[in-house]
Amino acid sequence: MRHSTALGRTMRLAFALAEARFWLRNAGSYIGIFWYVLEPLVFFLILIFLQTNVGASSIPEYPAYLLLGLIMVNFFIGATTGAVRSMRDNNGLIQSVTVDTEAVPLSAVIQFIFSHAFELVLFIIVALLFHDLSWHIIWYPVIFSVYVVFVSGSAFILATLGVFIEDLFNIWAVASRLLWLGTPIFYSLSPGNPLYVLNRFNPLYYFITYGRDLVVYGVVPDPAGMVTLVFGSIATLAVGVILFSKNKRKFGEFL
């Protein structure tokens, strides 16, 4: 009972912090929250332009393939980048009042769940326009839920490390750019490609591949692969929560 109350408090604070940041991110701008849609849309149009004018891709249902990959990787990069700095950004709060600090990295994830919802609406519109939308999209929340578990675990790990390693924010900015380019968002990989071998160790590759299989191509992902992804995500969350909990009393000194 006591644990559920503490969890409820943590989740309420995480939602409140995420909600505030979500609205504040584009506060004062003319189109406000529509930047959440405009940003991936512009990227999508640029990549579509490059694909049609520079190198013709043979990927079937390419617009839906591209946009889903784009928004799924955006979610990971946005949430983890937010998490790396989250403890420092909320230093005033953490040092001034007793709070459930777990709420802070979680709020970074929740903020990007909000923006992902907007991006998903954009995806549905684009997929409809290009006749790429499958009814299998109803299964997307299943894949996305597992993805959220994985991203939350990564957020806890990065938020903890971000307290002790001030350079991590810059390191992560470079690493996430490499991840963006290395993950097959706008291209596909065949088994002979060296990047394909590297991507076998890239969790994002599996999430976007299974997401595309399910939503764009209507193919049920390999059960063994799906089970590995679920347990891998739970393990990542467990590692993240344990690492964070073991170190949270040290945060005050380093922030």
């Binding site: 309420r12 912090l17 505030a20």
Partner: protein
């Protein structure tokens, strides 16, 4: 307004019950070096570098019983905040034993939760969530908080449009109302007694402080406001360079402190 004797009139039986805060021999050292120097130290772990260490607390004992208000006094850097943060779980102790019973609330200052670009209403809501209130509870409290702060007509105005005095009223009022609602068993207050605002508001907040003090929580309060400490605290602990150098009834301990530095 309640007098000092009113505030201090507690049932003596309360004071013989087991302490809610029982800290013994608490010690803490801070490593001052950061970044590259820390990296250097990690690469050469066997090389002692005592100049990098600051002894913030050295074997401090504190106990606070239910309903008791204990003041912490001492110069800047004497270890008051460190002690409160260790008891509040914000810092890790190096040595010692701390036993707490009940819900703990640590508070330092009032400007932790407000965002200038959020409206007054949204800021009140955010502060309420920080204290663990549910959305419905916050919604019910907002008119009361706004009336106390004199901000009823500014609820939907962004905080950056408020004067500094109004911002203070927003922060202080929201905090006090939320603290009252949460009813912590252990309250750790770090320099939060100078609430600011105009004379009328200071009078109102002082009443809130008195209610809080008389509410039965075990309170450990660090402050340089010796008048307040003398008025509200049953006992005072005087810290200097991380050690307890004096402890006892408020008046005597404060007199000794003033004599030493005054």
């Amino acid at each position: 307004m309640n007098t000092e004797s009113n505030v201090k009139q507690r049932e003596s039986s309360e004071h013989v019950t087991a302490p809610r805060i029982d800290a013994s021999a608490v010690s803490k050292r801070f490593r001052l070096a950061r970044g590259a120097r820390v990296l250097l130290h990690l690469l050469r772990p066997n090389r002692p570098n005592k100049s990098n260490l600051l002894q913030a607390l050295d074997g401090v004992d504190v106990s606070v019983r239910p309903g008791e208000v204990v003041g912490l006094i001492g110069k800047n850097g004497s270890g008051k905040s460190t002690l409160l943060k260790i008891i509040g779980g914000l810092y890790e102790k190096d040595r010692g034993d701390i036993r707490l019973s009940g819900r703990v609330l640590y508070l330092s200052g009032f400007s932790y939760g407000t965002n200038p670009y959020l409206t007054v209403r949204a800021n009140m809501s955010l502060i309420g969530t920080v204290f663990g209130l549910r959305r419905k509870e916050i919604k019910e409290k907002i008119p009361e908080i706004a009336a106390f702060a004199g901000l009823e007509d500014f609820l939907d105005v962004e905080a950056f449009k408020l004067s500094s005095g109004m911002t203070t009223r927003l922060n202080v009022s929201s905090t006090f109302f939320c603290m009252e609602h949460v009813k912590p068993d252990i309250l750790l207050l770090d320099e939060v007694l100078s609430t600011g605002g105009d004379i009328e508001f200071q009078g109102k907040t002082m009443k809130k402080v008195e209610n809080l003090v008389r509410g039965g929580a075990s309170i450990l309060v660090a402050s340089h406001d010796l008048q307040f400490i003398e008025r509200f605290c049953h006992r005072v602990i005087w810290l200097d360079r991380g050690r307890v150098v004096g402890s006892g009834p408020a008046r005597e301990t404060i007199a000794a402190y003033i004599k030493a530095y005054g």
